[in-house]
């Protein structure tokens, strides 16, 4: 029983990482209706930026916020420079551009920082009161941060004019332009925000996963599964999906199919969700009008 509880809590900790990646994916989807395959690499790259700052002596929270700014800028830059030219291209071209981005970021990180793992500090003290043998203080803190970011994102999209404008721009660019929304900049900001959220995910994950250029490649698939499961256009759903995926992965690995088929579990989740309920648990069902 204790072992089961332990697996579940450990799963929730991992789920926190998946949830934050899923959140960034949902953000990009909500603002641009694209799936960002390079999300993991962007997060990893931002985390390396943070590491560089910390290594140079900048205190943790200073580096944290500077990295968020940097990632926002990186996201905007990517949207404006790399994605703008293929904005009207077929989906396939966009997918390839994402993949090119993924490959470039991964390779650059490896070249600049080498492939040896680096440790990344955690802002949560090792002996905090909320830690236990089941979940380290950082893992608890990570879940807390994920939920806080989630809340901020939700409030932003729901209750601010800018958030509304962004959602409009993604859903109906033509009409949005007609009411005066600068659609181009909405997309760019969407990417910037997603980059920022991704960087938080990376900085939270790095103390647990250890920082190396391939840190996020394993996580991204689970992040996709989480985003799909929860509903690709629903931030709450994505986060919830993340936690579910994390726990399911652990339970399946420990008790059901063994650790040798964990990735297959992710595959089955993805396919299962897509077949049974493509809009995810909490997403909206899209009706296609003829």
């Amino acid at each position: 029983m204790q072992a089961l509880l332990h697996q579940i809590l450990s799963g929730l900790a991992n789920g926190g990482i998946y949830a934050s990646v899923a959140l960034a994916l949902v953000m990009i989807y909500q603002s641009t209706h694209h799936v960002n395959y390079a999300q993991g690499e962007m997060a990893m790259f931002s985390t390396y930026f943070a590491w560089t700052l910390i290594d140079a002596g900048v205190p943790y929270w200073g580096a944290f916020f500077l990295t968020i700014l940097f990632s926002f800028g990186l996201g905007v830059l990517i949207e404006r420079v790399i994605l703008r030219p293929v904005a009207n291209a077929p989906v396939l071209s966009v997918v390839v551009v994402f993949i090119g981005l993924l490959v470039i970021l991964n390779s650059l990180a490896g070249w600049i920082y080498s492939y040896m793992i680096k440790s990344f500090p955690s802002p949560f003290p090792n002996d905090a009161w909320y830690g236990s043998a089941y979940m380290s203080p950082h893992e608890v803190g990570m879940i807390g941060v994920t939920l806080a970011v989630l809340l901020l994102v939700f409030l932003f999209f729901r209750f601010t004019p800018l958030g509304l404008a962004m959602r409009a721009a993604a859903q109906n660019p033509v009409s949005s332009r007609l009411v005066g929304i600068r659609v181009g900049w909405m997309l760019a900001i969407g990417w910037g925000l997603a980059g920022a959220v991704g960087s938080v995910a990376g900085m939270m994950a790095a103390p647990v996963l250890y920082l190396d250029p391939n840190m996020m490649t394993g996580v991204v698939l689970y992040g996709f599964a989480a985003a799909l499961l929860g509903g690709i256009d629903n931030p709450w759903g994505a986060a919830f999906g993340g936690f579910i995926v994390g726990v399911m992965e652990n339970i399946a690995g420990a008790y059901v199919v063994g650790t040798e088929l964990k990735l297959t579990v992710a595959l089955v989740i993805i396919i299962g969700v897509l077949i049974v309920k493509p809009s995810g648990l909490f997403g909206r069902v899209l009706v296609q009008r003829v």
Binding site: L92, I99, V103, I104, S107, L261, L274, I275
Partner: protein
Amino acid sequence: MATIDQAASARTGIGVPARHRFGLALLLLAACALPFVLSSYQTFQATMVLVYAIALLGLNILTGFNGQISLGHGAFYAIGAYTAAILIDQSLVPYWATVPIAGFVCLVIGFLFGLPATRLTGLYLALATFALAVATPQILKYHGIEKWTGGSQGIILDKPAAPTFLPLTSDQWLYFVCLIVTVPMFVIGRNLLHGRTGRALVAIRDHPIAAASMGIDTSFYKSMSFGVSALYTGIAGALGAFVAGFVSPDSFMIFLSITLLVGMLVGGVGSIAGAFFGAVFIEFVPNLADQISKAAPWAIYGVFLIGFMYLMPSGVAGLIRYWTSRLKL
């Protein structure tokens, strides 16, 4: 009546214009001469180009003509390769029989995968196939089937030798085997794609609702195109296994699927000739990128990719089409 039929077939393009036929015959002759002109290593590379071309045609059938994005064709390539390897390893059939068997196995699996996939569109399908590609190496390593697959050790294959009455080296023989498979597969593919089936596929890609309302059985065609696409890629995988002489889970990681996608896009989506251009790109450009930058070869590769998307969105084939129409060849 006869003239109307002729006119109709010329418009729909089933018949090949005479000057094209001459050009193709020349190409075929050149292809047959290659292994005697090139070194052993270069013949090996040329053989890989043929193998990739078949795989890319397969992917193009599904993604280019039918519009279903697949980021997981590496999985079908792997299934084809392993089918051939296991059959040879267990000495069940002679090597040339493994190729059609591998193709058939992939046809079935592709069709079965395609059935539920008909409900998925665009990026959802891309995600599902992406997951398939990532999970494939792990499935291949599964200890439950280790007895046959060799687990993470993989299976070593003997290179098929030329029959004794032919004075060919193993490399040359393998090249011809691949050529003998490539040519009919492309001919069949071309006839398929330029005929009724092809038009149905394209209709489903461009206007699925209109196609359905015109009576085209979209589900059937979509699943079938998955199956046929997998068949092509599986055959390529089987041939590729013989060329490399070795299969292991590490040979079929996600990068293979990405490479195939890249090859199709560079060659030209929806273009049959594009399969060859794409195959050449896949085979030779990574080495080029390697020479440009030892430190970050994939970064160079990524730059190539993005550059291609900007400059040549319809691929090399599209570029050639553009220039030939400009120059009215």
